[in-house]
């Protein structure tokens, strides 16, 4: 019997997208952000897989699904090291990394308790800034900055 290697623990797909290097603790957030619970394609998840870089990582394989850049970049905030493999006929035809978008809609809560987004049913909107090499989000409403360490998902 052939010894399975780690990568094969989650079965291969014919066509579609593999999202690798997701921190294991963020798997369900990624599912939510990409609304994977609402699509009817075949999806396989693997989690708590060993990763030198992340400790424990998760992987998602989605058949017959190719993401728009804006769509996939939404996960950059919680899975900045995520890598995409685009699969055609069982072969990786393209590799992509996620990039932080310039604007983030929804997803994150504004750190300012006096912000309108924390009072009324207003989806938060942020402009993504770099501050000392870290991500900072400036609220488009109250103009307060949410630092990387204070980022809380909705």
């Amino acid at each position: 019997m052939v010894k399975e290697n780690k990568e094969l623990k989650v079965s291969a797909i014919k066509e579609g997208t593999v999202i690798d290097h997701i921190p294991a603790s963020k798997l369900f957030k990624v599912i939510e952000i990409l609304s994977l619970d609402k699509i009817d394609k075949q999806i396989t998840f693997g989690t708590n897989l060993e990763s030198k870089k992340l400790g424990r990582k998760a992987i998602i394989k989605i058949s017959d699904k190719f993401f728009e850049e804006d769509e996939i970049n939404k996960i950059a905030l919680i899975a900045p090291d995520a890598k995409l493999n685009i699969i055609k006929d069982y072969e990786v035809v393209e590799k992509k990394v996620v990039k932080l978008p310039k604007q983030i809609h929804g997803i994150v809560k504004c750190v300012n308790p006096k912000c309108i987004t924390n009072y009324e049913d207003v989806p938060p909107k942020f402009t993504v800034l770099e501050k000392n090499g870290k991500v900072a989000l400036k609220c488009n409403y109250c103009e307060k900055i949410t630092d990387e360490e204070n980022i809380k998902l909705l």
Binding site: C115, I116, Y119, E120, V122, Y141, C142, E143
Partner: protein, 307 residues
């Protein structure tokens, strides 16, 4: 001058505008100062929605509208309106937008003005959204500086009082940053300017230094901008009492200062400028408040495309 930049557009934050926009407003405000009574708002309805009371700001807006022959609808305090019954801001704004050509809004929640501008079909002028923005105050400060100094460029500005929570001070720093200023920051150690603004000044290569006494830099100052130190900012009342009296401008301090120095204050004043300063020709704070009427006339006229 690009007046088109204002047409139909809400005025929410001073950060949405650049140097040319400020100068356009200054130019138009000058026109209204020369001709404050006109008929241009005839047939227009301006809503003033004050979800928290601010008599001074409301009266200034209403005076601006009345002098231009516009009509005013609205409320002066949310406790007397449908908001009290739990109506959402969105519903209130969308309803009022049906009845008016422009909405002036004051609201205690930060970011409420931006949100209102998104859900309103008529332009919204922010008259203060909590501790965030109060752009018409900043613009009238700019107009007052321009009028008293004949320029906005290369001025030495001393900011006194609560530089930590003072929203007018933060916005003034942002707005003046286009005009090559030098800032002296005079405050109690507990109420210093927050780091984010110091970082902003550094990035823009704008010189600034911190002081603890008004007299440290008063001799070289062009604009002395005094703000109120609020008691509720101090957990220790004794600390407040100590601080309160060391940041009071008294008339004798103005001896030997530059002829062009003017004292500004966003008002209301409590005791941070003693009343003996009022009769000094360098006191400008009441005139500054009057300038607010012209600046608000300019803003409304520009947004509605009436000038």
């Amino acid at each position: 001058m690009s007046k088109e930049n204002f047409l139909g557009r809400s005025l929410v934050s001073i950060l949405d505008y650049g140097k040319d926009d400020y100068l356009t407003i200054m130019e138009v405000a000058k026109h209204f100062e020369a001709n404050p009574v006109q008929n241009i708002l005839s047939g227009k309805v301006i809503a003033t929605l004050f979800f928290e009371p601010s008599t001074r700001t409301r009266l200034s807006f209403e005076s601006a509208v009345n002098k231009l022959n516009g009509k005013i609808i609205g409320f002066t305090d949310a406790s007397t309106s449908s908001v009290k019954k739990g109506e959402s801001l969105k519903d209130t704004i969308q309803t009022v937008a049906n009845y008016s050509d422009l909405i002036v809004m004051r609201h205690p929640i930060e970011g409420s003005a931006r949100y209102a501008s998104e859900v309103s079909k008529v332009p919204v002028v922010n008259a203060g959204d909590g501790a965030n923005q109060h752009p018409t105050q900043t613009l009238l400060d700019l107009y007052s500086i321009l009028k008293t100094q004949n320029t906005l460029d290369n001025l030495e500005i001393t900011l006194v009082g609560d530089l930590k929570y003072g929203r007018t001070v933060h916005s003034l720093i942002m707005a003046m940053s286009h005009f090559n200023p030098k800032f002296n920051l005079v405050s109690p150690p507990t109420l210093k300017l927050p780091d984010e603004y110091k970082l902003f000044l550094k990035e823009k290569n704008i010189p600034f230094a911190e002081f603890e006494n008004i007299t440290d830099t008063i001799k070289t100052t062009d604009i002395l901008y005094v703000t109120r130190i609020q008691k509720e900012r101090f957990s220790d009342p004794i600390e407040y009492e100590k601080v309160k009296n060391s940041y009071v401008l008294r008339n004798e301090m103005l001896e030997g200062t530059k002829d062009n120095l003017r004292v500004l204050h966003p008002l209301p004043r409590v005791n941070e400028i003693s009343t003996d300063v009022d009769s000094n020709p360098k006191a400008y704070y009441f005139q500054q408040a009057l300038n607010g009427v012209y600046v608000r006339q300019a803003i409304i006229a520009l947004i509605l495309g009436l000038i």
